[in-house]
Symmetry: C2
Subunit: 114 residues, 2 copies
């Protein structure tokens, strides 16, 4: 058996130098879940916009830094590399800040509950 | 609404200084998948042992370094931070090496195919 090309990928590679919009790539999909890589560079949720999702989302900040806000919660959530958070479906949240001088790489799992 | 305690976790925290065995923690479970954090520090698969799993496994090396071997493939797979690989069910593989002087942190998703 020869070595299967392309079997190994890098979460921190294949990022264009210019990111006019957030970059979203599907990493893997299984029954009932989808994994995405999201790359932000200064991107934030539009003013007044809240994510209100039908699926749960577990998200890891793999690189960079960001600040989340949850609707109705005074305290913002500061995220740095290695930090992860589980956002139940319909928990309204927004991205208030991401680093502007470096890519912030998220790994997000969108899923149904057990 | 007050800030929910414990909503944010850190993949690189809560690691004991001594790791006589690999450390495995469940991060999250959904319908048809399970996410684990695995921490290795010099741990490798026992001689002659191959993982032969009923579920698919997608694994990210979040920190550290490791070398995998796939049964029947001559070339080993060197992994550093950010690299990820998808291991279909029953693809026999083993961990041939992990860093001895630093924790290697894996994020593994065990799942059923679509």
């Amino acid at each position: 058996m020869s070595f299967p090309n392309g079997i190994v990928h890098n979460l921190f590679a294949s990022i264009p130098s210019s990111l006019p919009e957030e970059l979203v790539d599907e990493v893997i999909t299984g029954k009932g879940f989808r994994v995405e890589r999201i790359v932000s560079k200064g991107h934030i949720s539009p003013d007044g916009f809240w994510y209100d999702q039908d699926q749960h989302e577990w998200v890891l900040l793999a690189k960079g830094a960001a600040r989340l806000r949850i609707d109705g919660v005074d305290q913002p959530i500061e995220l740095s590399a290695g930090m992860h958070i589980n956002l139940p479906a319909h928990l309204k949240h927004r991205v208030e800040w991401t680093k502007e001088d470096e890519e912030t790489v998220w790994l997000a799992i969108f899923y149904q509950a057990t």
